[in-house]
Amino acid sequence: MGLLGVAGVLALTACGSKVNAAADGGPSSSSSSAAASSGAAKESCVDTSGDSVKIGFLNSLSGTMAISEKTVQESLTMAADEINAAGGVLGKQLEVIKEDGASEPATFAEKADKLIQSDCVAAVFGGWTSSSRKAMLPVFEGNDALLYYPVQYEGLESSKNIFYTGATTNQQILPALDYLKEQGVTSLFLVGSDYVFPQTANKEIKAWAAENGMEIKGEEYVPLASGADFSTIITKVKDSGAGAVFNTLNGDANVSFFKEYKNVGLSADTMPVVSVSIAEEEVAGVGVENLVGQLTAWNYYQTLDTPANQKFVADFKAKYGEDRVTSDPMEAAYTSLYLWKNTVEKANSFAVADIQANADGVSFEAPEGLVTINGDNHHIAKTALIGKVAEDGLIYTEWESPAPIEPDPYLSTYPWAEGLS
């Protein structure tokens, strides 16, 4: 019986197409080559004939990442409502389909597949963790569909099917390093969660440090699972006597880290911590009293004094509550929907190929300031900001880059970064 089944399977396997090894033997630094070479991408089923067009929001509404990703979906929803109120995109109303990624990469892949194949959406907005993006990438390339990804990440990626509206490393981490150097810091201690973003970021930081005469006093990772104990690590940090700490910890670990940091007697005055994953949303959870005076690196703060931001913050509070805060990923998500709208209108088409062809130079007066799509690598030019956490739990800009920084996900314009990517 069982053998019969296997025999049946073997008989059926005869008709599938094989990968032509000769034509496509080697790996490519760009992952996008996969879809291009296979040529077997499925036909799009997007229907734009009616007076509405479907788009998908894919965020974790359950699981550990729901904390952060819910806020992203809220600002996306606000953007969609605004666009619909203003007449839609190319005269068509947006019909939003929301899905839960459940904080699991495999679920992100499944739901992305569903949105593209079953719901036939024109574009998908969402994702947060690198693993969720890596999980979705082959789905979008295989189906030749579009993903707008709103979170700062470790770089070293560029897919023609993804638009990255958060910062890449040269728009967040490198400016932070430059800022520290400018402040006279000569040595660093690196603390991060044990996963890809901190590992990659720290590799880049070490390469930068070697070039810039910054001494790296230590490098420590804690398991991503919560419940990590920081006693040992903080002792190492304290004993190192480093000028500053570069913090790439993720989520809950920050709470334990900063509590311990304060309790051994370290402070922002003696040894400042620069964090790249703590935004306004996370400050309350960590405890303002533990964070006051510490630094963060982002491209947007709620306190930015631009007309677009004042409207964005006011609208968001009106919609979701006065006590709510806005943060960088929320703003990048909001911006991503407008960038898609502007590109569609420039291309006068919802088709993926047309959007890809017309994306270069599309800009938007975002809450963070003017942003512009780079058509080559699908990232956007952004202004880097270093901020300081204040008593009121908000973050205020201490320093900003003189102009929007062109995205360079592979750090190809930095000679010291050679061999990293």
Binding site: S226, G227, S231, D252, N263, G265, E282, V286, N290
Partner: protein, 294 residues
């Protein structure tokens, strides 16, 4: 030398957290054979209790201290409710209690998210617990000394309860020989319920202690439950001193391994060490129960 002292302190500190998380389990698992996976969520409930109680007081320190007995009550009540509604009918199926209480733990976590939001809550550290304290010429964080003292007080209190009170005698009698205890007129039903109250209440206290070191959020229980069970497994059933020794040995081992390797590898090595240890002593460090048949 400095390194050794500071790492031993770190080990004791990690051990005291493990001990607080595990001591209640040692009691309920030891007496009733119930594997309560929701114990972690009782810890979580203790943490949220500290958050709520502290919010009621101007003075963070008063709030924190008051929240200790309140959290004991909250944890204890949750435990009694669980015991009376579900576990009571399942004492003859100890393995199944594991899965049932896992279901309870999922629901309590989601409930916490619904009530308190997904973002973690911060419990303030009172001024008298902030910063380091100098002991034997070394600086130690006051919060960790506080947790260590709380763990010691809790364990001493518990063993006094078991030794000196009639409830304690009933509990010990039931642990050692349930049938005999019943014959000598002890209501094992009410003893079970009281044991569960005390054991779960201790989880509440653990939750308060953790607020000084870690975030209060829905998943805090998950972070400690597995290690707490390992402490009980290594310590052996039915005796508190087994859990105490196991917790501090594991804590110091973890601290040493973290110093030598890194935190992730330390956890893996600890697991391997536990499996090897059970090869030598499958019944744990201590076990009062004689091996009964079938």
């Amino acid at each position: 030398m400095d390194v050794v002292v500071s790492q031993i302190f770190t080990g004791l500190s990690i051990g005291s957290i493990l001990l607080l998380a595990a001591i209640g389990l040692a009691l309920t698992f030891g007496q009733m054979g119930v594997i309560n996976m929701a114990h972690g969520e009782f810890i979580m409930a203790g943490g949220y209790t500290a958050f709520v109680v502290q919010g009621l007081f101007e003075n963070a320190g008063v709030g924190l201290l008051l929240s200790i007995p309140v959290a004991f009550l909250v944890g204890g009540l949750l435990g009694v409710i669980l015991e009376m509604t579900l576990l009571r009918r399942m004492y003859h199926r100890p393995l199944d209690t594991l899965l049932v209480t896992y279901g309870v733990s999922l629901i309590l976590q989601q409930l916490a998210k619904t009530i308190f939001g997904t973002q973690g809550k911060s419990v303030e550290t009172p001024t008298w617990l902030q910063g380091p304290i100098e002991l034997f010429g070394f600086d130690f964080p006051k919060t960790r000394v506080f947790v260590l003292v709380l763990a010691v007080v809790t364990v001493v209190g518990l063993s006094m309860l078991l030794k000196a009170t009639s409830l304690g005698r009933r509990i010990r009698a039931t642990v050692q020989n349930r049938q005999l205890a019943e014959c000598s007129g002890i209501s094992t039903r009410s003893t079970d319920r009281l044991t569960f109250f005390v054991g779960s209440g201790l989880a509440g206290i653990a939750g308060v202690a953790l607020t000084q070191l870690a975030p209060v959020n829905a998943s805090v229980g998950q972070a400690y439950i597995i290690n707490a069970f390992l402490v009980v497994v290594v310590g052996g059933i039915g005796q508190i001193k087994g859990a105490v020794i196991a917790a501090f040995v594991l804590g110091i081992g973890q601290a040493a391994l973290e110093k030598i390797y890194d935190a992730s590898l330390a956890r893996i090595l600890i697991f391997v060490a536990i499996v090897l240890f059970l090869q030598l002593r499958p019944q744990g460090i201590f076990n009062v129960r004689t091996r009964s048949l079938a």
